[in-house]
Symmetry: none
Subunit: 233 residues, 4 copies
DNA sequence: AATGAATGAGCGTTCATTCAT
DNA sequence: GATGAATGAACGCTCATTCAT
């Protein structure tokens, strides 16, 4: 674990293997991999795919179990063979999205040739890209966390990992003298993670603004680096 | 209307009189002041108070009209004399909170003795204070906007006003040379508003971190000013 | 009562003074003329007028007491100063329509210069004309009789008078040899009254067919006379 | 399609196979036969039977879905597995009654040995018999048509078929010279259908008169034939 | 393992009527 | 007499979950 310099934004926390205290929550295979027959596996997967489609189309609240089952081509009652409730399959879908994000993220992680600024920039770029591809589900996560306790736990855990990762990074840079040392690293981390994730949420999910991807990434990175008093290459 | 310089954060937009294109949406008295008798006014107010209590206790989704009516000590059906639906009374409650914010805000607005940095600081301090006092309702607004269209409109309007106000302020400062001129003012405004509002949301509503008010305000203000490349006094 | 020859159709029964066993049911002034002050009289009349408009616009079931009161320009509660219920005002309105029909009818009644055929024709013509002018309310009477007992009584009484009147007429003509004597006069009367009233109901209220008034009257009269075996002039 | 000569009265129109433009509307099995399992079929049938009983007992307006469900011995919510609303099950019940009428009717249709007069007589006799057996439901149809649009459509369609059928018959007889040719066939048809159906309605549903079945049929048929100027055998 | 019928608690809403002022 | 706020019974409908087959 070399000083990575990667100034991770929100989602990245969930993608860091080395921090994964409870990796199982990011996997939807709780009941899947071990217990189920191959056919059952396939049915389960069909339900997950259907659920994502229905959730993205109707939102969490308006999604109905019967629609998910129909979309998956299974009987209404069969749903409960694989999932205990609508909430549970929702968590599974979210976990799968997170898993996807994780793979996306780690596959390009930790390049030592990049400068701290470039690492922040790359992290922001990745975040935007992942949000573009999975924005609806990530937006739904924001939605569901407001009324479902378990989703809230999941969301907060993801957030916490991001914040923690960024905090470590800031502290590292503070030690190196790369950024100003008078800031509360945790507080600053929390604020910067909020800046990026909430900005992208309003942009890509709520439709605020109409930016070019690179332009948005650039501005975010400039603000981030500048806020920390980082010298920009 | 002196140059205000105040770097408003999220909520402040709703409090600005000079920008108030449709100020009436922030008042719950649409049906109240003109049509209703004093007795009716009192009942309406009881319902609003009860609604706020119930919403804060149960959340928007779990709040039931019957509970609001019971809490207010009126018959179930009487609710509909004053409000068309749960959503409508929710909007009224939110509007009242916003109105409160507005009064808080304007009462100390536009002090010409403050430096730009101090104006930002003061705006952040106010925002934190208002969020401390009305956090539950403001958090509920975040919640409700994810599944109710009208609340979403209200929320976006408030957000838009905040962003717009900050944007104008940034542009003003850019013209004056107080802050760096190479940033997209709208994009930066959007990001900074997100930073403050989402940070405070996770802090005061979700319980992330355990800051002293002034410390949090200080860090936020430092990040804000620094991000814009502002010279700090 | 000379042999009138008038082959009355449905509505005419309600218009015959000499048969009016209980004329009060055809007057809406039960509480009106005696008890009420002039101002009260006027308010009562406004309510009646408003009620007719609302009933014709919305039907009996969808008409709301509050709409009638509003239309009349009085407070919701004041309605009950003048009428006990929605049904009662409906009956009053119907009674007033009947009263109108009565006046229309009697003003041209019993012309001795007309032949039996001409009397039938004239009765049918009158019936069509009255239905044209009051069709909506008369249609509503058909509607209301199916679920309100008192309206049903009123409707049946009106029907009974018509049938009775026609029966007497048929029997008179049978005695004179003007029509075939082998028919059950009551049964034939009932059938012919049904023919005219139900035909006109489907025509003018339900929109079946698109006749010229005179053409319809002619055919009805031809059928009527012919059915009874009457020699046509 | 031999010249049928049958002078149908109202209900018969719904029973004519050769004219059945949209026969499916008279069957309640739209959702039934194809989609439902045997068990579901049984439950559906229980609901239909229960509905008829409740409708006949309480009328359309006072019938409540919960009563129908209870009467059928199923849970309240189960009702909605099979029917969308009270109106829909009502239409199904009416359709089943019509279907019954149809079978009754067609089973004795088109007897070539009967004279035109005998065909009218037989049609009237059938109509009376069917009304005796299903009078309450047929009366309810009259009731429901006055405030439910879909029932009205159904009722008008049935009426229209009757009128059309009789019209064709009259025109046929006019061509043959069996009846007078100077009458508007459609208008006369409409009037005669009204005569029979409305007479029977007042007789069997409203209790007007106390006829022997054959006597009533005889008088109706005499009036019908005579009205058209038909030579009576 | 799969089916899909059955369940039933739960909620929002309407509106005729009453009654305190 | 007039007002209009207050009442509360009533009902339709949804849908997550269970369970018999």
């Amino acid at each position: 674990m070399t000083p990575q310099g990667g100034n991770d934004t929100e989602s990245s926390g969930a993608t860091v293997t080395t921090l994964a205290g409870r990796p199982e929550v990011l996997s939807s295979d709780g009941r899947g991999a071990t217990t189920l027959s191959p056919k059952g596996q396939r049915t389960r997967q069909r339900l997950l795919t259907a659920a994502r489609a229905v959730f993205e189309r109707d939102g969490f609240l308006d999604a109905r179990v019967v629609d998910i089952a129909t979309e998956a081509g299974v009987a209404h009652g069969s749903f409960y063979t694989y999932f205990d409730s609508k909430t549970e399959i929702f968590r599974s879908v979210v976990a799968d999205v997170m898993s996807l994000v994780w793979h996306t993220r780690t596959s390009t992680d930790g390049d030592p040739d990049l400068s701290p600024y470039q690492r922040i920039e790359r992290a922001n770029r990745q975040f935007v890209r992942v949000y573009r591809e999975n924005g609806t589900m990530l937006g739904l996560m924001e939605q569901a966390m407001t009324f479902d306790d378990e989703v809230r736990q999941l969301r907060l855990m993801v957030r916490q990992r991001s914040v923690e990762r960024v905090r470590l990074n800031i502290e590292q840079m503070q030690k190196e003298g790369t950024v100003r040392g008078d800031l509360d690293a945790f507080c600053a981390s929390s604020a910067l993670v909020s800046m990026v994730s909430n900005f992208v949420y309003f942009w890509l999910v709520m439709g605020e603004g109409d930016y070019d991807d690179e332009a948005a990434v650039h501005t975010l990175t400039q603000l981030w680096a500048s806020a920390l008093g980082m010298k920009i290459d």
